[in-house]
Symmetry: C2
Subunit: 263 residues, 2 copies
DNA sequence: CAGTGGTCTAGACCACTAT
DNA sequence: TAGTGGTCTAGACCACTGA
């Protein structure tokens, strides 16, 4: 029923690996090695009887492949091999600390300033925090060794909860700082832009003048759509790039996306 | 069994809307309106008998919610409401034409140059196309009205297929230009960086000197991992930003990601 | 131990497609 | 009309959790 590599692989029903998952891997192999986009897969009935498993289990395997974008099904016609979607570009970016931990780099961060301020008109215009509301305002710079990489400025709407520790401010994302608030954040808006650094920022990040940077802005909202926090992060443009892989991969599949340092 | 809004909603088995989907919507409502992260859902058995449907159907609904990140299940314990993941940032970016069509903008593009070249040492170093291989080289600028927004430079490994039309070069992504090749692309690598524009680029995009830009590089590979094409796109930094929403949304959920123009 | 989610089965009916 | 995928059922056994 299958092409070249068909006879080799069977399903082991006594294995601790679920049957549907074994089937996913078998079908992936067939797709990547013997088939072309547009080719039709065997019908669910055929696969079911061929491997001696139930049709529902076959459907589960095919559902996984569908979600992964490897195949698509058409009612009344059949299931077909999909073209790899090479134009959809998904850049994934966690918070700074997660990124560094993923790379096994030990970051080294400094709290430059932290104080209570009252929201002014500018903040209201930009974020929607009403004028006069008390906010915790702080600035952090993240370094690897002696090299500053990221500079962050954040506002958190003040609440009477237990005070935040310096170590929390330094190595926690805005949303994790806020999860214990009375009204925790449930929605986040982020904007990625590119811009030139100001003179102050050039000094803090210790870069040449006229260095561009990634500017990531985040606003967190509670369930009532009230803004709870506002942060901006500046990533040195000379040291950061975002890499993304899509498509089919033979044996090993590169991880998707991620914010990678310049090297 | 459910909280506030429980009694109101029943499942209509005669509806043309699948039962599992009706259940997804009911559970979503419960989660968003009456529950908090960490709360436990009724067991699959309870939901199954409560609505008079099979457990497999309940499981399908819960599987959808799990994939959407709204709940998570723990074997032997139960199913719980998840915290919205506010730190995972996914920037989505299609090709230029898709982006424009999504916005209903009629783009207006010019082919600046198109000719056959031979890969030189620099291209080999950067992309891996062997020195001497014949490539189609072309440059395009995309405008809205009279304003240039994107400038693209592309190399496609030459093949004996039917020649590409100018209109194809202008409004097709690299991967769609290549899908009919003998060995179509199955893998794509993209890198997003920020950099300053060169003098040439400043002239082409008609921006002020010292304007930063998004620099997106794409390399397409065939199944044998041979590079098939190489493109770089420059998006004006003063006109582009990438917006991303995550979390829970009450009635209407903003679309994820997207490359939006500066306004 | 009882209760939970995870997997799997062997049917069934349906809407849709192609001939 | 025959064949396809889409949905749904009413069971079953398992591994795991927590009391």
């Amino acid at each position: 029923m299958f092409g070249i590599g068909s006879a080799k692989r069977k399903i082991d029903k006594t294995s601790f690996i679920p049957v549907y998952y074994q089937l996913v891997k078998i079908l992936e192999d067939e797709i990547h090695n013997g088939m072309m986009p547009g080719d039709v897969l065997p019908t669910e009935q055929e696969i079911s009887t061929y491997f001696g498993i139930s049709r529902m289990t076959v459907r589960r395997a095919i559902a996984e492949l569908t979600r992964a974008g490897k195949v698509y099904a058409e009612k009344g016609r059949g299931t077909f091999v999909a073209k790899p979607k090479l134009d959809s570009l998904v850049f994934e970016l966690g918070d700074y600390y997660k990124e560094m931990k993923q790379k096994g780099i030990n970051p080294n961060s400094k709290l430059l300033e932290a104080r209570i301020v009252r929201a002014d008109d500018k903040i209201f215009q930009e974020v929607g925090i009403p004028v006069g509301v008390r906010c915790l305002y702080y600035r952090v710079v993240h370094m690897v060794g002696n090299e500053p990489l990221v500079y962050e400025t954040k506002y958190i709407v003040y609440s009477k909860k237990k005070p935040l520790l310096e170590v929390e401010l330094i190595n926690s994302s805005l949303s994790s700082l806020l999860t214990n608030h009375v009204d925790p954040p449930v929605r986040s808006k982020r904007v990625l832009q590119v811009r030139m650094l100001s003179d102050d920022e050039v000094g803090i990040l210790k870069v040449e003048p006229n260095t561009p940077a990634f500017h990531v802005e985040q606003i967190l909202y509670d369930i009532e759509n009230n803004p709870l926090a506002w942060g901006t992060s500046l990533y040195r443009g000379d040291r950061y790039k975002i890499v993304n892989h899509t498509g089919w991969f033979g044996r090993k599949s590169p991880k998707d996306g991620g914010f990678n340092d310049g090297e």
